[in-house]
């Protein structure tokens, strides 16, 4: 073999020990991207896939056509949900380090995505998230105790002990069950939206996928079916720049934005500053209106940064600079909304500190309640017989037999000195 090859290998801008370099990131000024009519022809929307919709400027003012003009009270609610998400994440991460739960995944730096989007949607809209949109649960009001019981696989675990931590679901809150398999939810959301349209109902679907997972087949399936049937769905790509150790270039991000993937399908593609609460809110409103008025699907790329490790099993210091998150040009979503509220005269450092401590308290009390229902290590435990339920609606004979076998095995185990 000749030593030189022309095969291009994508390169992250910096590796451990090097200074973070975000010069690759294409930015637009706040207020710089026009906001077209929601029913504009898709062909006339190409520019939205290369611009970056931003509302908050350097002076913490909200500017431009995408400004959603929310009441200060609504902004405060948004700030609260983002903060709660962050504090919850930090504490759950800690419990994992202490061995109380087996696994955890944080959304540090991406809180605006799920919080602003959930707030911009209606309660009847159906959400198909990946594992990094816990903010949806905060907005829709699922008690923390319920989430924690899932993390603990305890006697109140909504999943009855079947799923890894963070794989929540909530039928009455209209949040779909999270899958451990990447990307599968993307075309499922499209199917849900198709059914809504078939039934003549007004609810829309929204789904989230990581930029890394967008390489999976199901991304394409979702795009094709959404485009063909003009399904009322918002297809979100959360581009947090990393997929475990792989930079977004390995998903094709070196060439073109992920929003641009929509263009070829005839699906509107919208690139948004994912750390700008107001931009995310405004963009989501626009996409939701398109969907609800029959103008079809929108692919929204939320440009953000994975501030923390991929999960508790990951160590990002092996593959990226340590201080990268601090240098991320789009800043921190919580800080930015906080400063905007302060600039509006609707918030202060004191109120902020009080809120942080209030939410910390909430997490603490919730945790106390949750562990009261058991932990994976110490119990009380779920009844193992539950393992055989919900495979089918009715338990077939072979599972009845296996359930009995397990019971006998456990008796025999105790007799044989096993615990």
């Amino acid at each position: 073999m000749k030593p030189h090859s022309r095969l291009h290998i994508p390169q992250p801008p910096s590796r451990p020990g090097q200074p973070p370099d975000f010069s690759y990131l294409e930015l637009s000024a706040a207020g710089g991207v026009p906001r077209p009519d929601v029913n504009a022809r898709v062909r006339d929307l190409d520019f939205l896939a290369s611009g970056l919709v931003r509302v908050l400027d350097e002076q913490h003012q909200a500017v431009g056509p995408w400004h959603p003009h929310l009441e200060p009270a609504e902004l405060q609610v948004g700030l609260r949900h983002m903060l709660l998400t962050r504090i919850y994440d930090e504490r759950m991460q800690r419990t994992q380090r202490q061995g109380r739960i087996s696994f955890y995944m944080r959304s540090l730096g991406e809180e605006a995505v799920s919080v602003a989007q959930a707030m911009a949607l209606r309660p009847g809209d159906m959400l198909f998230p990946s594992y990094r949109q816990q903010g949806l649960y905060m907005v829709r009001g699922r008690p923390l105790v319920d989430l924690m019981c899932q993390l603990l696989s305890n006697t109140r675990d909504m999943c009855r002990g079947r799923q890894l931590p963070v794989m929540y679901h909530w039928a009455s809150g209209r949040i779909f069950s999270i899958s451990g398999n990447l990307a599968t939810q993307f075309p499922q959301a499209v199917g849900w939206a198709m059914a809504a349209a078939l039934k003549g109902e007004d609810d829309i679907a929204a789904t989230w996928i990581g930029e890394g997972a967008s390489a999976e087949a199901d991304f394409h399936h979702g795009m094709v079916f959404a485009a063909v049937y003009r399904a009322p769905v918002i297809l979100n790509v959360v581009n947090n720049q990393w997929a475990i150790s792989m930079f977004q270039g390995f998903a094709g991000g070196e060439n073109r934005s992920f929003a641009a993937r929509g263009l070829g399908y005839g699906v509107a593609g919208l690139r948004v500053d994912g750390n700008d609460f107001l931009a995310v809110y405004g963009a989501t409103r626009w996409a939701a209106e398109r969907a609800r008025t029959g103008a079809g699907p929108t692919l929204v790329e939320l440009v953000t940064y994975r501030g923390a490790a991929h999960s508790t099993s990951d160590d990002p210091a092996r593959y990226r600079p340590r201080d990268d998150y601090e240098r991320w040009p789009l800043g921190d979503p919580v800080e930015r909304l906080k400063k905007h509220l302060i600039a509006l005269g609707e918030w202060s450092e004191e109120r902020h500190a009080a809120l942080v401590s209030e939410l910390g308290q909430l997490v603490t009390t919730s945790w106390k309640t949750a562990v009261g229902f058991g932990t994976l290590t110490d119990g009380p435990h779920l009844d193992p017989d539950l393992m055989f339920e919900d495979v089918f609606e009715e338990m077939p004979a072979h599972l009845e037999r296996q359930r009995a076998e397990l019971a006998a095995e456990r008796r025999a185990g105790v007799a044989a000195g096993n615990t």
């Binding site: 999943c159 079947r162 069950s177 599968t184 849900w192 199901d218 089918f392």
Partner: protein, 335 residues
């Protein structure tokens, strides 16, 4: 009715009775399906109940799941079972486990219909019988009828089931029973008692095997096209064989099967799929577990060879009457 008409009748009735039922798949709409199973349904129920879809089996199953979560009962067609693999991930990781992983909060009662089996010179990509790789996956029901009457009743039961069902249709049986002899003139279903199909609604329960022929000397456990091949082989040998049509691979009616083998003491298991790690292995292993003390001879397996299904050697590949007869003889001889 032939099997195509019986399946069409089941779909027609279900579209009529339940507005949540939608039929979807490649070419199933305007055209009525490449095997014409959905013929006339789009004209009758409209483009929103009978949908042509993009050519993406994975997308078809994924959107069907989403539709089912939103209250519909999709009946998706995969044009050939050989083309179901692009949907395998959505079936195995999602469809089969959604109820389980969400503790019953979300369910997806999707029926996936797909023509399987050889005998139509379809070569390696229009002849496969992949039931085993679905039977191994917890959470799926797996069905294969061997005649029009069962086909209609089982399809109605599948659509009404609260669980996902993989519904295999042996395509060589669409137009008539086939006893494994390609040289014999084709026989229409009208000559067969199971070709008499009521027009009205009825169900054949999932999870129940049928004894299609009673006998005392040996038990033949089989399904799909092989039911007819086994009948012919037993007849040719003049054996008083009991023939069981499994019909439902999951849940498996092992009680009916075991009761028979315990009585006859001998057993041949037959299917068209590749032999190694095929569904016949499960049948054989289960029967051995339930009937060991009654067995007078080893359980024989009859199956397709462990090669792809070759175009030119279709009848050398297909487990025809002679292969079944040899297994029957082996099982009868041994003592």
């Amino acid at each position: 009715m032939n099997m195509i008409q019986a399946l069409n009748s089941a779909l027609d009735l279900m579209l009529e009775r339940d507005s949540a039922v939608v039929v979807m798949g490649e070419d199933v709409g305007y055209y009525g399906g490449v095997f014409r199973v959905t013929d006339g349904l789009q004209r009758k129920y409209g483009e929103h109940r009978v949908l042509d879809t993009p050519i993406a089996e994975g997308g078809i199953v994924a959107t069907a799941i989403g539709m089912a979560v939103n209250g519909l009962k999709p009946v998706a067609e995969v044009q050939f079972a050989d083309y179901i693999y692009p949907a395998y991930d959505q079936i195995v990781s999602e469809l089969a486990r959604l109820r389980y992983r969400s503790a019953g909060e979300f369910t997806a009662p999707v029926t996936i219909r797909t023509p399987c089996g050889g005998g139509i010179r379809g070569g390696q990509t229009h002849s496969q019988s992949p039931e085993a790789i679905f039977a191994h996956v917890s959470g799926l029901k797996v069905v294969m009828p061997s005649n029009p009457c069962d086909a209609k009743g089982l399809l109605i039961a599948a659509i009404e089931a609260p669980d996902p069902v993989i519904f295999f249709e042996p395509k060589r049986l669409y137009n008539g029973p086939f006893d494994g002899d390609p040289d014999k003139p084709a026989v229409p279903w009208s000559t067969h008692p199971k070709g008499e199909v009521p027009d009205a609604y009825y169900r054949v329960p999932l999870g129940k095997a049928e004894v299609v022929r009673q006998g005392e000397q040996i038990t033949l456990v089989t399904y799909g096209t092989m039911v007819h091949v086994c009948e012919a082989a037993a007849r040719r040998l003049g054996l008083d064989a009991e023939i069981i049509d499994v019909r439902s691979m999951v849940p498996l009616d092992i009680e009916t099967i075991a009761a028979s083998v315990q009585r006859t003491g001998r057993c041949v298991v037959a299917h068209e799929a590749t032999r190694f790690a095929g569904f016949g292995a499960e049948l054989s292993a289960s029967i051995q577990e339930h009937c060991f003390w009654s067995l007078e001879a080893p359980i024989q397996r009859v199956a397709g060879w462990d090669t792809p299904y070759p175009h030119a050697f279709e009848w050398e590949y297909f487990p025809g009457q002679v292969r079944v007869m040899r297994a029957l003889e082996a099982a009868m001889e041994a003592q």
